[in-house]
């Protein structure tokens, strides 16, 4: 994948080193096994210790055993994981942005000391329970509830489409205190609590190498010390999602690049119609011109977004724009590359259709393409059109 606008010029020595190290790891360890895991529908658990030892989990957080790298370095790590498979980046996004970030941002000092080092070193795996069977794009309608009872809260509800649900030792459950109109709070729920059950979602055609579950909570009792004390209302989970979407916008560039490289190599070597490679045909060149432009636009957007983030100026609406644009670009790229590979493109011998299937999910989760469209529509017109 050509770095067409040479955005790597803007990376520091450390940022390049992070990119190269994670890429070397993924090439040596993940790529040889990920196709088999995708086919079998299993998450590559054997990679967790090395991913953790590399310091990827919560890498952009400071202290508590986290690496404390820049947002660009974190983005590049996500990009390299997703160059292998969206399942690996999803695993790291959930652990880092949806579990470690809220504890880091909203947790008590005791919670940070207890959980963050072990989440960083992979001894504890986390998951994030916001979405419910009937509340996806509209999470504030959630039915999950928490009832105060002495020194405890008692939780009830169902969460669905939960990445890492069956791997997790710790679930962050967002639930309302005091009924349907109550206030949303975040609860740190050990998954071995009585009344907690994770049910694996099978028959997926996408993110097959990722663990996706439904969480059922029936009278799960947790001490009050496990409530995130420093955030109330939907801004808690929404801040987590903004953090994760930033990583997704970087990550999908990796998946798109993997598809681009595979298709370009194929097109240069696949000979049809009188001895010329298909790359010599105008229709094929038009495809490459389009996806090259769109991927380059994605790269420039995340670079600028990272600079805004460093200055504390990045707005959630801007994150909506880069998630929406880059996930769609990656999906379109994967579909186009699948097309270029012809019949060969439908197999696991090439990474392209695996990425294409994965990116259907990535375009949908963490705010669907259409929901981010409405976020931008509201931002520019001042009129909300969600209802």
């Amino acid at each position: 994948m050509p770095d067409y606008f040479e955005i790597a010029r803007h990376f520091s020595t450390e940022e390049r080193a992070v990119r190269d190290s994670v890429r070397a790891f993924c090439t040596a360890r993940a790529l040889p096994i990920i196709g088999d895991h995708f086919e079998a529908g299993t998450f590559p658990k054997e990679l967790i210790p090395e991913i953790a030892a590399l310091g990827i989990l919560g890498a952009n957080l400071n202290g508590y055993g986290c690496a404390g790298v820049s947002d660009i370095a974190y983005g590049l790590a996500m990009q390299e994981l997703e160059r292998a498979d969206s399942a690996l980046r999803s695993f790291a996004s959930v652990q880092g942005s949806l579990v470690m970030y809220p504890i880091h941002a909203f947790g008590s000092e005791e919670q940070k000391k207890k959980f963050l080092p072990e989440l960083a070193n992979g001894k504890i795996i986390g998951c994030f329970g916001l979405t419910e069977p009937d509340f996806g794009s509209n999470p504030s309608g959630m039915r999950a509830s928490a009832r105060e009872d002495g020194d405890s809260y008692v939780l009830n509800g169902t969460k669905r489409w939960i990445t890492n649900g069956n791997l997790a030792n710790l679930a962050i459950i967002w639930a309302k205190i005091g009924g349907v109109e109550g206030e949303v709070r975040g609860f740190l729920v050990p998954t071995d609590s009585r009344g907690f059950e994770a049910r694996r979602i099978n028959k997926k055609l996408s993110l097959r190498a990722s663990d996706t579950s439904e969480l059922v909570l029936e009278d799960v009792r947790i001490p009050k010390s496990l409530v995130l004390p420093n955030v109330r209302g939907m801004k808690g989970p929404l801040a987590c999602l903004t953090s994760a979407r930033f990583g997704i916008a970087w990550g999908v560039i990796g998946a798109a690049s993997a598809c681009f490289d595979s298709a370009l190599d194929y097109a240069k070597h696949r000979v049809q119609f009188g001895g010329k490679p298909i790359a010599a045909h105008q229709l094929v060149q038009a495809k490459f011109a389009e996806i090259l432009t769109q991927i380059t636009a994605s790269q420039v957007m995340v670079l600028e977004a990272s600079r805004l983030k460093r200055e504390g100026l990045l707005r959630p609406q801007q994150v909506s724009m880069i998630k929406r644009h880059n996930a769609r670009t990656a999906l379109d790229t994967a579909r186009t590359c699948r097309d270029i590979l012809g019949g060969n493109g439908i197999t696991l011998d090439y990474p392209v259709m695996r990425h294409m299937c994965n990116l259907e999910t990535v375009s949908t989760y963490e705010g669907t393409h259409d929901i981010h469209t409405l976020v931008l529509g509201q931002d520019v017109t001042g009129i909300a059109a969600f209802g």
Partner: protein, 275 residues
Amino acid sequence: MKILVPIKRVADPDNANKLKISSDAKVDTTGLEWKPNPFDEYAVETALRLTENGANTKARVGEVVVVMFGPKEAESTLRAALATGADRAIRIDANDADLDGDVVAQGLKAIVDKEKPDLVLLGKQTVDSDSNQVAQLVAEYLGWPQATFAATIRSEGDKALHVGREVDGGTLHLKVTLPAVVSVDLRIVAPKSVRSAHTAEGHAYPDGVRFAALMAIMAAKKKPLVEEKLSDLVPGATRKIEYTSFALPPARAAGIKVKSVQELVQKLKAEAKVL
């Protein structure tokens, strides 16, 4: 044990399409992405394995000093080696155009005289020029024993090294007394290829070189990196090798179709002369 590991950056082969060569055989490296020479990465990995016990890679038993000839921007390659575990770095300020294997070997001799390592450990060659000269030359200039193309190394109490070299039809074993010069081949990074004086019996590494952890990359910023001048180390250094031209391999000629088995056999006999 104190180990000096000379390393070099090479143009990333994935970016080879950007390489420009002028008519007077000058290579224009503008805009290239660089990578560490793979054999040098193996040498760094070997040096780290020789200065630890394998079980705890954070407990260092010795020192690994990486050294490089190159311009300021090549320091990122030294920082990458520091991030994987090397202790400190030396950059000898030089332009690639002023260097050949002999100048590098003379410069390394001067560094060895200052640093007094027990071992100089190198990749067997760089993948850009494929010269395969520096280890042999520096051993000659130092008057030290050498073992080239090491596939296995076992330290005998950090006083001597038992080196296995893959040769046609088998493995050649030799023992070099330290101080010595050793160059490594690609199989040196197999799980059990290197045993330090401290490695536990039966310890197996993951296959290949280790990956730099993100926190180690951040910490490497603070590890010592000093600069030396080539002119101070080797006054009046001039290269003995000049590149006069570069040419692509000739394009392969098109094949021919034969009409019958008889014709095929006849051509194999008369033209290809393989029957």
